[in-house]
Point group: C2
Chain length 219, copies 2
Amino acid sequence: MTSRPTAPTSPGDEPSGRQRLLDVGAALLAEHGYADTTLRQVAREAGMKAGSIYYHFDSKDQLLTEVLRLGMTAVTDAFDEAVGHSRDTADPLVRLHAVVQAHLRALFEFGPYTATHVTAFHYAPKDVRSGVLPLRDAYEAKWQNLLDDLVADGALAATNTPRVRRLHLLDLMNSAIHWFDPTGTETIDDLANSIVELFWVGATNSAHSPALNTDRNSP
Amino acid sequence: MTSRPTAPTSPGDEPSGRQRLLDVGAALLAEHGYADTTLRQVAREAGMKAGSIYYHFDSKDQLLTEVLRLGMTAVTDAFDEAVGHSRDTADPLVRLHAVVQAHLRALFEFGPYTATHVTAFHYAPKDVRSGVLPLRDAYEAKWQNLLDDLVADGALAATNTPRVRRLHLLDLMNSAIHWFDPTGTETIDDLANSIVELFWVGATNSAHSPALNTDRNSP
DNA sequence: GTCTATATGTCGATAGAC
DNA sequence: GTCTATCGACATATAGAC
């Protein structure tokens, strides 16, 4: 449930060395951006000196690339799992809600790794971006296919272009990283409900769908 | 129509010195962020040397603060003008559409000054942020009041909290800076339509409102 | 108003001891 | 694996000539 990001290192041993650098690097990167995150800062918060980083990584860019890669892997896995669990569900609204919830959970609960894609990716060096772009494109394609399927099922109205429809939904979810506080009174599920409801009813011509549970005390 | 951002300097004279630095600084800031925008770069593209900047500004932070201030003034003026022009309009959807259009026009046509608020504000030094925060809060309050009025009129459903409603709409508009190309086939008005339609129908319980003109060839 | 020259600091990265 | 020490590049900012 509260599993930490899993690096290619064998699980079971407590986070040390490389893993600590990744965790700290992701946190600093998500909060301060690429340029303002210094290796000296990463090293200090990881309990070592700046020079020691180069035993684990070849460069600052490589550390950042690895953080972004792990983050995109995490949301992609969360997406696939949610799709798998809801594939037998008839109601397309429930399916949409499941993946939105999965994306938001990854964004807020998995933590800094995924958040870096919203806050730091765009201003990272070109080499870093191009190294992670295939993973990002693949993830966006998953969303595009899902929304296209919902339109094909007649569950979503075909307003706007498919691309704009996808971008609007992803913007709604990702932008929340700048203002939503998951430790506050509103839960992540509340946020998922508000976004799905907005997007869903907005993209279709019909009135309220009865399937969306807006009860804030649901498990 | 194509008026440039007006600095506190007297209008009429061609942009020189301080104004050129502001224009270049805003452009670089919007594209590369705060930390990656160097004064050497700003000076070079403005046709002068780095040291000369300090005749016009006391520090990099002050230049950035001024850019952000001008940007927020621009969107605020655009908002007020749109509200003034549509205040006598009965249809609340038309009023909402007018301000969304005004915000997007300021974001894309006025250019880098307003875009910096989306791309660079969050990662600017604390002193810079606090120096512009009152202007930002005032602008957000305008949107909050407008949406609250629409809810009070029964034009928008009172789903979610008022704050979340406002943030979602602003997120939809501002996030488009990362992917929308105003020089492409889709116009800014098209984007405004797509956002208003999504938000409007999504936030209300009724079906399509007949007032929104979705004709892409409207003047 | 703009220039040159420079002070001062911090960054990423390397080399080699332990 | 982590340390110390340091190199070279580049940043903001300053001082003073023109």
